[in-house]
Symmetry: C2
Subunit: 284 residues, 2 copies
């Protein structure tokens, strides 16, 4: 069976590998011209435009940096979108954009579902990533065989936009756990403890969180080389705060976190790794 | 070999079991008279007062609710404290009290070390608890054989009072992870997501923290039956804030957490489980 793939970056490439391994024919496009050669080398079929992919495939996977990109690509390909076609969006984006993308597809007789990935390209490559599905149940059932190729675990979280909203909730907790670790390590060091021992003790007991594995050593070593950028997470935190405000819910920890990220950015860490939130605790 | 044990509550009983299994003779006292029968049934030797235990044993384990109790017991037994004697304190207490307890013992020619336990009585019973050791290195080496009977892992964290301070750092992160989970679940529910699915997704990925196993279901079910009391943790949070203020360090997340616990107490949850921090997000 043939699947279209628009966006062949780190995650897109990992998805292509999994689909090809499952004997799908992958027809792909990326704005980056080097991606075509990469896809061809893997055994896929690069095309010269997104519209060509959309015109040729009944199932199209989207793997783009933001939901702005999704809306731009769908608008540019609108003429090629056709009845019965299914779009599966793995991009992390805004809930409003997911609804807009769904409307755009529907206006051409096509369907659109969210398959937001929790996990890195490496996790996708080893089929260990989790995909959160948002959308119409019938369309999700249609989409699950393809999604199952690259996601080890799949959870249906609700109607269209639910996956984007769930990603915000996940990012809220993930970011706060990271900031809690930073605050704990800064506290330990300031009161005269060895922060390396503190990390060891934190990891050994009930206070353990998975961010300790990912960011603990980076915080201790003040190694802020980016795996993901602090300013990007700060944008998520502002989205979370806006969404909560819209619902009249107060989020005191998220508000404090927002100000910590603000301070880290002022200290020059916008493009640093998320671990740089610990810099907010440094004395000026 | 003979070991004294003052305090035979949940943790003290588990310690006694481990010591007896390792062929120590356990000579014990507890203010609660039912504890004597419990100790005798396990094969230990109850005594009629703390002073008797202190007079008869060269190594004395302390397992009391607070460091206030430690100071009170040591003062009451001061006449029985003797040269060369070693006190091993498993109680979680204040750093200042640890220093005072050390001075009191030293004034009688005895030694005092911290062996602060991270973990429940159940973990002690299965030798899976972690003990953080604070004190003079030579005394800690003397103490390690006994501590090794009931702690599966042991970390030396520094001089006397370091273990009490480390416990504060651990509680800072532990409490914030719990509050972050509460904030995330409250957010998920408020923006229309299924909070049970949110918990499932949180546990499956990078946002995972161990408090999700301990408190996730309790928060969802609004089951606030106490495993540990919210007011007790609130006291720790105020200790942490005071210690940070003394050092001129700002802890924005801990300050926000302090106010959340305040709100949960005002809502009637002082004696509830720590999971009741989620009640701070309920609409009045």
């Amino acid at each position: 069976m043939q699947v279209g793939l628009i966006g062949i970056g780190l995650v897109g490439t990992a998805i292509a590998e999994r689909l090809l391994a499952a004997d799908y024919s992958v027809v792909g496009y990326d704005i980056d011209v080097t991606a075509a050669a990469r896809l061809a080398k893997l055994g896929g079929h690069p095309r010269e435009s997104a519209a060509t992919v959309v015109g040729q495939c009944d199932t199209v996977l989207l793997s783009l940096p933001t939901s702005d990109d999704i809306l731009r690509v769908l608008a540019a390909c609108a003429g090629a979108i056709h009845a019965g076609q299914l779009f599966i969006d793995t991009t992390t984006g805004s809930a409003d954009d997911a609804v807009r993308a769904g409307e755009l597809c529907e206006s051409r007789g096509a369907s659109y579902v969210e398959a937001t990935i929790l996990g890195s390209s490496e996790l996708v490559r080893t089929a260990a990533a989790l995909a959160m599905l948002g959308g119409d149940d019938r369309e999700l059932t249609r989409a699950e065989a393809v999604i199952g190729c690259f996601a080890g675990k799949v959870v249906r979280v609700g109607p269209l936009s639910a996956a984007s909203r769930m990603k915000l909730a996940v990012n809220l907790v993930l970011g706060l756990n990271r900031a809690a670790l930073a605050e704990g390590l800064a506290f330990a060091q300031t009161i005269g403890l060895d922060p390396r021992l503190a990390l060891e003790v934190l990891r050994a007991g009930a206070a353990y969180s998975r961010v300790m594995d990912a960011k603990g050593e980076k915080m201790l070593a003040r190694d802020f080389s980016p795996e993901a950028r602090l300013a990007q997470h700060h944008k998520d935190v502002r989205l979370i705060a806006a969404e909560a405000a819209r619902c009249g819910l107060k989020l005191p920890l998220t508000e404090a976190h927002d100000r910590l990220l603000e301070a880290a950015e002022r200290a020059g860490h916008a493009a640093s790794d998320n671990s740089a939130v610990i810099a907010a605790y440094d004395r000026p």
